[in-house]
Every structure is written in structure tokens, then in C-alpha cells.
């Protein structure tokens, strides 16, 4: 049996004794496109950061391809929430993407010509070739998100974790990103994405993790994206959301899209 790309067992994380994640078990299949959905403060970012070994859990463990997490994260491309980076940093778009190539160079070895070619190709994929020499601070939010995506592409990882890549991007950028994600999936990569828009979830992902401190449900999208489970995830807290959720869950896809344009 082949080892799962991400295996999480009984994971508990708390900040100042207040639990944020509690007893989360998860096994992600290779080549799946997973959405993580849950209300604000549900622990979605915390889960991703714990997988990336940025947060030490109070209990449980994370295994990457059946092995130790510290080595495993070398095979993960992580796209952080956009706010987590200093955008005044004196680097150009190209420099940022080349950073993704350091995983493939040894100590002392410099970025080479082939790395540049890879980076150039990644830039093309996200439609940002014209911006290669721009300082990253002089980009719009959506463009910044594309740069992050291109950097992840340049890493050429087996697993990708992305924290809200669609936050604050326009419809065109969203389309670009989603088509790249689908491509990644085709190449057999495992992609995990924190997502907020219930209306598009069904269309984008093939697996879904519903999270609210605990794992509410995980599985193939048509089994998990149900009115009942979404209600359970959002509790009574977000009535506005649950309204959309229930409609989205019940109705066919064409109408989902219509609702999206209404929002």
C-alpha cells in the first residue's frame, strides 16, 4: 500500500490552554484536490501551519508520505495568507519566484540558468511575464497572489497547501488559479486549499474537509457537501452563510454560478 501524502492522527493544538483544534484525524489521498471549509476562527490556518511544522501540536502527529514531518515538508509547497509577508521587501517578482528554486539547489550552489527558465515558465502560467522586474510592493492584491502561486509552481512539490488563495482576487484571476490547480491535480499532485466561498466549493474541489475546531466531516465532495453537515459546521453562528450553503447544496451547478455573481 502506498503511503498517503498527508496523514494526521488525533491532532490537538491549543493557544494558551484554549484548544483551537481538537482530535483531528485526516488522511488525504494522493492526487486529490481538497477544500477546507469552516467559519472564521475554526482553525483552518492553524491546521495548515501545523502541517507545515510552524506550530507544535499539543498532541497527535502529522505524517507526510508516511514519514517524518520535518523531512516531509520539503515536499510541500506552501502558499501563505497574503498578509503574512512584508510586501515592501526589496525583491522583484522574478526574485520571489526564484526563491522557490532554492529547494532544488544545494548549499553554496547558486541559482542557475535552468532555474531561471523554470521560473520564467511558471510566470507565464500565471500570466505575469510582463511584471517579472516589478518590485513586489507595486502589485495589486490579485497579482501578488499569482506571484505566490508561481513560486509554489517553481518549487515543483508533490503537495501544495494554500491558505485562501482566492481572497481578494477578481473573477479572471480566480479562473486562472483554478485552472492551474486542476492542472496540478492532473499531474498527480495533492492540493489542499482553505476556501471561504461555499457557492464555488462544489465546482472546485473533489474532496472537502469541514472544520470547526473538530473535524465535522471529510470525504468526497458529493457525500460531504450536504445541507445537514454544512449546518453542523457553521452551527447557528452564521445564518447568512447557512442560507447560501443550504441553497448551494441543494441546487444544481448552473444556479450556483448565478448566486456567485449575486454575492
Amino acid at each position: 500500500m502506498k503511503a498517503k501524502p498527508i496523514e494526521i492522527h488525533d491532532l490537538t493544538v491549543s493557544f494558551q490552554k484554549k484548544p483551537v483544534l481538537y482530535g483531528v484525524d485526516l488522511e488525504v489521498e494522493e492526487g486529490s484536490l481538497v477544500g477546507i471549509i469552516g467559519p472564521n476562527g475554526a482553525g483552518k490556518s492553524t491546521l495548515i501551519k501545523t502541517i507545515m511544522n510552524m506550530i507544535t501540536p499539543n498532541g497527535g502527529y502529522v505524517k507526510i508520505f508516511g514519514g517524518n514531518q520535518k523531512n516531509g515538508i520539503k515536499r510541500i509547497g506552501y502558499v501563505p495568507q497574503r498578509e503574512s509577508v512584508d510586501w515592501d521587501f526589496p525583491v522583484t517578482v522574478m526574485d520571489v519566484i526564484l526563491m522557490g528554486r532554492y529547494a532544488h539547489t544545494r548549499w553554496f550552489r547558486k541559482i542557475g540558468k535552468s532555474d531561471r527558465q523554470v521560473a520564467q515558465a511558471c510566470l507565464e502560467q500565471v500570466d505575469m511575464t510582463a511584471f517579472a522586474d516589478r518590485q513586489i510592493g507595486n502589485l495589486s492584491g490579485g497579482q501578488q497572489q499569482r506571484v505566490f502561486l508561481a513560486r509554489a509552481l517553481a518549487q515543483d512539490s508533490s503537495i501544495y497547501l494554500m491558505d485562501e488563495p482566492f481572497a481578494g482576487v477578481d473573477a479572471v484571476t480566480e479562473k486562472t488559479i483554478i485552472s492551474i490547480l486542476k492542472n496540478m491535480k492532473k499531474e498527480g499532485k495533492t492540493v489542499v486549499i482553505v476556501h471561504h466561498d461555499l457557492a464555488t466549493a462544489k465546482e472546485y474541489f473533489d474532496h472537502l474537509l469541514l472544520l470547526n475546531m473538530r473535524k465535522v466531516a471529510y470525504g468526497p465532495i458529493n457525500q460531504v457537501f450536504t445541507h445537514e453537515l454544512l449546518q453542523k459546521t457553521y452551527g447557528g453562528k452564521l445564518t447568512v452563510f447557512s442560507e447560501i450553503a443550504s441553497r448551494a447544496a441543494k441546487q444544481p451547478e448552473i444556479e450556483n454560478k448565478m448566486q456567485r455573481s449575486e454575492n
Partner: protein
């Protein structure tokens, strides 16, 4: 009595270079100034992009007790003991700050302010208690670059190598340049996105520590010449000024070289004219250059921004 001495071009700019003795003497001062500006400028660039400018302040003050204890124990000012003491104190300072802000509710800036002032005060107390050490606390603040040519000769196995202060800063400068060239990648990636660095197996903590050590070493090497104040100024002014004109880190790093030359050259002659401390004059020149850069610099300068707004 006039407040400002009359400006006389040939007296200010030509006289210091009129005889070979003067050229030799003042040349050493200039060389010292260049190397201090370059060393601190390079280390400072990395500190500033990491948003740790205050950390430069903290470490450069925090090494003082280490120096004092090294003097007291070894009874001399040997290079080895000085560097060793400074590194230990610098790291202690760094760890105290980190401990305070992770284990108490203190924020990082408050922890820094607390730690470095107490370290500095402790160092000054030690020094003034041991007056036989012949360290002038005032000199620690603003240094005496004019006396660099008088610095003792550095002896290696009995061979006389020449001016010790120049050798010290020269070695640190070379170390910093070589370190930057070899570890440029890890330095940039850990500064920009430490998670990415960690996931690639780049040792984030070790990189941070090495940078703190480089900070401590460049401070020690610069201290007797320019004092703590100018050390801190030289950590911050070159990268910040250059960033108004240049967009990429490599060019900013290279930009510290011409800036260092202008600062030292300008400061030296300004001090010659006004008959004031050279180190202070260098900082004044750095400020005078910063103001137009901040106004006119194409990369985020105030006037450019106004132009684009309207």
C-alpha cells in the same frame, strides 16, 4: 566669535592632503571610515529588511558588558578576548530579548528597550568601576576615529602587521562580504519568508544567530573608531537611503559602497572645517543625504508620490 568658521575651499579640501605625512595619517582615517560604513551597511541591510533595525541598536549596546568583562578577566585588549566577550554578550542579549517576549506578556520592542539599556548600563558601570582599564565611556558613545592612526601595531607571531584597528575592521569586513556572497540565498529566503526557508531545510535559527554574531563583530571592530551612535547610524542609513533609489537587495548592498565613501569623505572634511568630531560629522552627512533621498527618491520618495496622486 562666529558660530561657524569661515569656509575656505583650499583649507577644507586641500590642506588635509598637502603633505605625505598628512596623506598617510588622514588616509588611514578615511580607510577606517570606509570600512566601518561598508561593514555596517551590509550587515545593516539585512537587519533592516528583516524589520529588526532596533535589534541592531540593541545588540550594539548589549555587547558592552561582554567587552568590559573580557577586559577585566584578560587584563588586556586582545582581539580574541574582545571578540569572544562581545559575541557572548551579544547572544545573551538576543536570548534575553527572545525569552522575555515569548515567556512574558512583553512585546518585542519593549523587551528590546529593556534589555539593551540594562546591558549597556551594566557595561558602563563595570567600566567606570575599573578605571585602570583606561576606557573612556564617552569614547564608547562617539568614538575617536581621528586617533585611529595611533592605534597600536598588530603583531602576529612577532611579525608587525600594521595598524591594529584597520586590520580588525578589515578582517570583519572581509568576513562579512564572503559570508554574504556564500549565504546570500539562505539570508534572503529566511528574511522574506521564514516558513518557506524552513520547509526547504534552510536553518532559520542558525541564520538568525549568524547575523546577530556578524552584528556583534562589526560593532566591536567599529566601536573604538566611531562609537555606538555611529555604528547604529551606519546600520540603518545606507540601506534606508539606498532603498529610495534602488529596488533590489543586491543593488542596495552594492549601493552601500558609494554611500560609505560619500559619508566618510563628506564627514571628514565637514569635521575639518567645523573642527568637530569626525564620527558625528559622518552621521550628519548621512542625515543630509537621507533628506533629499526621502524627498526625491524615485522609489517611494515623497515628491514622487505626490506627483502620482494628483
Amino acid at each position: 566669535m562666529t558660530l561657524i568658521p569661515e569656509f575656505n575651499f583650499s583649507k577644507v579640501f586641500l590642506e588635509p592632503w598637502s603633505t605625505s605625512t598628512l596623506i598617510n595619517w588622514n588616509g588611514q582615517i578615511m580607510l577606517m571610515g570606509f570600512m566601518v560604513c561598508w561593514t555596517c551597511g551590509i550587515v545593516g541591510s539585512f537587519i533592516v529588511i528583516r524589520r529588526m533595525a532596533l535589534m541592531g541598536d540593541a545588540i550594539s549596546h548589549g555587547i558592552l558588558p561582554g567587552l568590559a568583562i573580557a577586559f577585566i578577566i584578560s587584563g588586556s585588549m586582545g582581539l580574541g578576548s574582545m571578540f569572544f566577550g562581545a559575541c557572548i554578550a551579544g547572544l545573551a542579549c538576543n536570548f534575553s530579548i527572545e525569552w522575555l517576549h515569548t515567556h512574558t506578556k512583553l512585546k518585542e520592542d519593549a523587551a528590546m528597550g529593556l534589555v539593551f539599556t540594562s546591558f549597556f548600563a551594566f557595561g558602563v558601570t563595570l567600566i567606570s568601576m575599573n578605571s585602570h582599564l583606561h576606557i573612556d565611556p564617552g569614547c564608547l558613545l562617539y568614538g575617536e576615529i581621528g586617533l585611529v592612526p595611533l592605534s597600536e601595531k598588530w603583531k602576529v607571531f612577532g611579525f608587525e602587521m600594521g595598524n591594529r584597528s584597520l586590520w580588525t575592521i578589515g578582517l570583519v569586513f572581509c568576513g562579512v562580504v564572503i559570508g554574504t556572497i556564500f549565504f546570500y540565498g539562505p539570508l534572503v529566503v529566511t528574511s522574506f519568508d521564514s516558513t518557506l526557508a524552513k520547509s526547504m531545510g534552510i536553518p532559520v535559527k542558525a541564520t538568525h544567530m549568524s547575523l546577530m554574531l556578524a552584528l556583534a563583530l562589526s560593532t566591536v571592530a567599529s566601536l573604538e573608531a566611531v562609537g555606538v551612535i555611529l555604528v547604529v547610524a551606519m546600520f540603518v542609513f545606507p540601506p534606508v537611503t539606498a532603498a529610495f533609489f534602488l529596488q533590489r537587495l543586491p543593488t542596495i548592498l552594492i549601493g552601500t559602497f558609494p554611500l560609505g565613501i560619500i559619508y566618510t569623505w563628506g564627514g571628514f572634511h565637514l569635521a575639518y572645517w567645523l573642527d568637530c568630531s569626525i564620527a558625528a560629522a559622518i552621521a550628519v552627512v548621512a542625515t543630509l543625504l537621507f533628506i533629499p533621498a526621502c524627498l526625491l527618491g524615485p522609489n517611494g520618495g515623497i515628491l514622487w508620490r505626490l506627483k502620482f496622486k494628483t
